[in-house]
């Protein structure tokens, strides 16, 4: 079944415990950086001004937002381009591969392989934004441009 697996309550509780622990630890627990011995996922900088929510919130909840959106969109036809998977991909596609999941360093693939969470969105969904430059021949915009030249 093609679903993003919902985390079970035990794992959720563990995640919160870790988060609270990290917050209480304060300065004692330094944020791991690329320079330290702790391996961290490579996060490529996104285009666009700001994400639809704070990065900390998105890290924890992006799967719930996506799952909510997908039911709203598929069943009820509510399409909000701001908070759609397509919207995510438009900002987060890698400048090198043009995709969010083609190379191991791409935005989605990077974190998901780090956290060992299987990513099956892109078996069906395109992992690249729409190529706006490639208009088909005979498209009104193409013929108009050709006519004005």
């Amino acid at each position: 079944m093609k679903t993003l697996r919902r985390r079970d309550p035990a794992r959720r509780a563990l995640a919160w415990l870790l988060l609270v622990g990290a917050a209480c630890g304060g300065a004692a627990v330094a944020q791991p950086t690329a320079a330290s011995r702790v391996p961290v996922p490579v996060i490529e900088k996104a285009r666009g001004e700001a994400c639809v929510a704070e990065p900390a919130f998105m890290r924890l909840n992006h799967m719930d937002l996506l799952k909510h959106r997908r039911d709203e969109t598929v069943h009820r036809g509510v399409r909000d381009p701001r908070s759609s998977l397509k919207g995510c991909i438009e900002c987060h596609a890698s400048s090198a591969t043009g995709s969010v999941a083609a190379a191991p360093t791409d935005f989605c693939a990077s974190c998901h392989s780090y956290a060992a969470v299987k990513l099956d969105c892109f078996e069906c969904h395109a992992s690249k934004p729409k190529a706006s430059a490639a208009l088909p021949a005979g498209h009104p915009a193409v013929t108009r441009v050709a006519g004005t030249k």
Binding site: M1, K2, T3, R70, D71, E72, V74, H75, R76, G77, V78, R79, K86, I89, E123, C124, H125, A126, K128, P129, K130, P136, G138
Partner: protein, 256 residues
């Protein structure tokens, strides 16, 4: 699953409403053509709140004029393939959302060419048989597959009398951003739902129009002022396999 329960409840409600409306129409002595009374009752009874998304007052439909549809012309099929990222292959394992069908009357020898796609039935048998609720009818009458919950059992493929559903047998790459497709799921014509939600028309209709054939008309069957509703009112049209009483949203002109 909650959305399924909701959808089921709505369908049950609309079914009951249609039945009550039919009973009322019968009691009033109104004699209307099959299908017409259902639409008008649904329109009269629909609760009026403009919520975002699929509008329950709308019934999207297609009217295909077979007298203008040339034998051998595949403009609509090609447009569908391009729009939805289909390979265009015609092997039994290739996905085909729309096919050109040639019909010939044995007695008179008259032949007609027509495109056949998902007929977007009001009573879709694919929805009845789906064990997971993946096959569903949207509020505006478009019959879709939710690939997130499709398990690829292919009951709907068997149930559809129009052979409008395809199964994806092999892994796909380079899907269109607007049309997610993948191996292991059943799929069919979506009436280009991604275009409709933006206020557009299906790719096949647009291609037919652009090529100057004017054989396809898309619109809201429930809106008495829409071009399609006017044409359906004025000229004799038919639904394919109307004897099955599935009330398809796709109608054909010039077949009988």
């Amino acid at each position: 699953m909650k959305p399924t329960a909701d959808t089921g409840a709505k369908q049950g409600l609309s079914g009951r409403r249609a039945f009550l409306g039919l009973a009322a129409a019968g009691a009033g002595g109104l004699l209307l053509a099959p299908g017409v009374h259902l639409m008008e009752v649904a329109q009269a009874a629909a609760p009026g709140t403009a919520a975002p998304g699929a509008n329950p007052k709308v019934r999207w439909g297609l009217l295909i004029d077979t007298t203008k549809c040339a034998s051998g012309c595949t403009d609509c099929v090609q447009a569908c393939n391009t729009e939805n990222g289909l390979s265009g292959g015609t092997r039994p394992t290739d996905a085909q959302w729309i096919r050109k069908v040639e019909l010939k009357s044995i007695k008179t020898g008259r032949s007609a060419s027509l495109p056949v796609m998902c007929q977007h039935c009001a009573e879709p048998p694919c929805v009845d048989v789906c064990p997971t609720g993946a096959s569903f009818k949207r509020a505006d009458g478009i019959v879709l597959v939710d690939r997130h919950s499709c398990i690829g059992c292919r009951y709907c493929v068997m149930a559809c009398p129009y052979q409008a559903r395809s199964f994806v047998h092999e892994p796909l790459a380079d899907q269109k951003p607007e049309v997610p497709r993948g191996k292991g799921c059943v799929e069919g014509c979506t009436l280009c739902v991604h275009r409709i939600d933006k206020g557009g028309a299906p790719a096949c209709v647009e291609a037919c129009e652009r090529a100057g054939h004017h054989a396809m008309l898309f619109g809201d069957l429930n809106d008495p002022n829409s071009a399609i509703a006017k044409r359906v009112r004025e000229v004799a049209t038919m639904q394919l396999r109307a004897d099955l009483r599935l009330d398809p949203g796709v109608r054909y002109q010039g077949l009988t």
